[in-house]
Symmetry: C2
Subunit: 477 residues, 2 copies
């Protein structure tokens, strides 16, 4: 069972102030387009991972103002009765497009586009940003950590340091999409099919007279998955010897030890030797102590003997950079069926928005299936799959490149059509697999932790012209 | 209305594995004591702020395993039927003590203590840590930011960058307790009485032909609170002039401008002069652009003309250090009514736990009412309010200090007695006021952002003896 809390009122207060304002200005049915996009990849990485779409769909599908909400808003003495009536009879009427979950994404791309009555398209800003920013942040960080582990399983263990309950639940979900093999968070398993894992804390060991007794009891109860925590007192002097004794006596089907403190490289090498000398080559070693991609890379480099990682606080909070800076900007108006592109100017070139209603394409090499570039176009434009197609850097248009032997994919799907949900969110296993497959389309140069190559995100000539014209019009004022 | 989602299953899987194990080991009714404490103050600060107690109380008061939960657990094929029956008839029987919300707290203090059947006292670990860690993190960060603003109001604007919905809702709550004057998060107002605030986004301005038209429309609709966003195009050339024109024409009751980008010090000084020259000395200036305590301190130092701050991502994620590292450790067992202290040893002295069932006292100076020291004692000990009471550094016992003219307060309250709630969580305004009052008891030296004085957190002689004896017994093994 998933608790579908009504989160309609989880919105910045100004969304409501503006909504009431649009209604009173006779603009409530004016059609507007908003894009969600981000400007910087966390951790100076080369890519991010899209996540949270399913929760956005749920939110939009359940938008509803209860009598209590209306009463609450009336009590603020700021909103007119006509507006409160509008909310009472609220019916979501927008079109929504989005990049599917698990897709590698890049700065400036329209990840989500909402088209509809401005009063509505504006209102949903807060939750779209909140959900996509959070899950994409954790998915991106998790994917880095998983890649650092080089094929060894990574488990998400961070609930206790998550920023509230939803951060634990959906952080587990995002990390699973991005490559983790499971979570410690039980409710994420019950509600979102993320496999939950976990065996014992130090307190289990402390509750018994000694480690041997604690381990033996555990092995008797859980012979199918007997991972013993060996660092309550002293890993090498007491923990590992007690575990070995129990494993040899009881021969559990699955044996492992977990070390949660100390010098990982040293302890795992020594523990591995002790286990091997006891004939317990099958016994796995799991590590879990303030890990992230950098520490994991380092201990593997140092030759630590590790079979699996449990990663907590640095994953669930994306500690090294805990903000995914997605924004939600007006990109166009629609009057009498005609789309009027809008732009937000800034002195900082990178902060000027891409105007208009856009389509986002990804171009893949026909042989290697690697992603070559993403191209934004105006809606309705297509990209011909012909040799010699020219892309150019939108901020330095003399930098051109001709592409041959490629195919084109429209990167986005439609989620809502005139307020009606038209998208079935795929099962989590499918999303996870899609993410892994899409990661295969990225070049090594983009995946690097340090100084990755910047992936091309370009504009079609038409879109670039529209943008440039708006900039020039603005400067002429 | 507060959505009371049943979060019983938001628990690390190993809590359930251990619970089933305790039952099968005949230990389910063994009485254990667990302490929640933290070891390091984020941002190398001198104090932290306790928050989240109300949500912990709600969680514990609503612990319940539904049929669906039981069915889910059965499907894992790891738990015995006797255990599933136990969960079905689960009744919370623990005693719980806690430091009240809004209290300044320090490392190693038992912030929460849970006493009860080990199977239960262990089970609640994940949520107690998750909730207190999250809200204390945000309260602590917010308090720093509020102090940097030196009396100017600080509003919490971070929902869109929060780590999920609960982080937005309860982050707003924690920040309000710690000194913010309100939030952008509407649902936190509806459900937790945190005043919600907000006027307009850039898109409002973009929806009209020009700033003057956009501002005028807004001022007509909201004359009582007319804060205009002046940086959509150019703050000084177009934004502020348009705002001045509208303010002079319509004379709204409350006038203000908000600047969300650019060089804060320069723009606010220039804007202030323009407003004053137009006779609009009453018009306030609000700033909101990736702020934190360091930037706020700097721009005030630089002479920026700011009346209020809106702080978003760096507050709601506690960006500079997004982890509050609270842990939950076994501190004692109880056999035949006798408490047996337990200790967790570590090579790192700071990581050795404080054993036993403890009381936490704070000693205040009778004249200044400043907090002099906190002292942990064994339960039942009192601290005599007599001159010459000696405290000592538990890690360097030759460092002693005699205290005169002080009074003593037991810092904790009981929340649950044999599973029954015995504590009424105070209204949020009371918590907020309590926090502000308690902050007054700290010395300037503790409040410093850089290199604060370490506040004394000591052990009574008796508790120190118990701890030391356990360490020596352990070393003798």
């Amino acid at each position: 069972m998933v608790n579908k809390e009504n989160l309609t009122m989880l919105t910045d207060f100004y969304e409501i102030t503006m909504a009431n304002g649009y209604l009173l200005s006779g603009m409530k049915d004016d059609i507007a387009y908003f894009d969600m996009f981000f400007r910087r990849i966390p951790d100076r990485g080369g890519y991010a991972i899209m996540a949270g779409v399913e929760q956005v769909v749920d939110y939009l599908d359940n938008l509803e103002f209860t009598d209590e909400d209306i009463e609450y808003l009336r009590s603020k003495n700021s909103f007119c009765e006509e507006f409160l009536d509008y909310l009472k009879n609220f019916k979501f009427e927008c079109d929504v497009w989005s990049v599917p979950e698990g897709t590698p994404i890049f700065p400036h791309e329209p990840l989500v586009t909402v088209r509809g009555p401005v009063i509505q398209a504006q209102f949903v800003e807060t939750m779209i940003l909140l959900v996509i920013n959070h899950q994409s942040l954790v998915a991106t960080k998790s994917n880095r950590i998983v890649r650092a582990a080089q094929g060894r399983p990574v488990m998400e263990f961070g609930s206790r340091r998550a920023h509230g309950t939803a951060a634990a639940i959906f952080g587990a979900r995002a990390s699973y999409i991005a490559g983790c093999c499971g979570t410690a968070c039980t409710i994420s398993d019950r509600d979102y099919d993320i496999p939950a894992l976990g065996t014992m804390a130090h307190s289990w060991v402390q509750m018994f007279p000694d480690e041997y007794t604690a381990f033996k009891k555990y092995a008797e109860i859980y012979p199918q998955n007997c991972i013993l925590l060996v660092d309550t007192y002293n890993v090498l002097k007491t923990g590992v010897p007690a575990a070995i004794k129990v494993f040899k006596e009881l021969k559990p089907a699955k044996m492992g030890i977990r070390i949660d403190s100390g010098d990982i490289a040293y302890l795992t090498k020594r523990a591995r030797r002790m286990l091997d000398e006891a004939g317990l080559e099958d016994c796995s070693i799991t590590i879990s102590n303030s890990l992230d991609e950098y520490i994991i890379r380092d201990v593997i480099f140092e030759g630590a003997k590790i079979d699996a990682f449990g990663v907590g606080e640095r994953l669930i909070t994306a500690m090294s950079e805990p903000v995914f800076g997605g924004v939600y900007k007006l990109s166009a108006l629609e009057k009498n069926g005609k789309i009027i592109p809008k732009i937000k100017i800034s002195e900082n070139v990178e902060k000027i928005t891409n105007p208009g209603f856009k389509t986002l394409y990804r171009l893949y090499d026909k042989e290697s299936h690697k992603a070559l570039a993403d191209v934004m176009t105006l809606d309705g434009e297509t990209i011909p799959e012909v040799d010699g197609y020219e892309i150019f850097d939108p901020n330095a248009i003399w930098k051109k490149k001709k592409l041959d032997n490629f195919y084109v994919k429209n990167l986005r799907v439609q989620l809502f059509k005139h307020g009606k949900r038209v998208y079935d969110c795929p099962p989590i296993e499918e999303v996870k697999k899609y993410c892994a497959d899409q990661m295969e389309t990225l070049w090594e140069e983009t995946l690097r932790f340090e100084n990755p190559q910047t992936y091309y995100v370009d504009l079609s000539r038409k879109l670039w012209n529209v943008k440039n014209q708006l900039i020039e019009e603005h400067n002429a004022k």
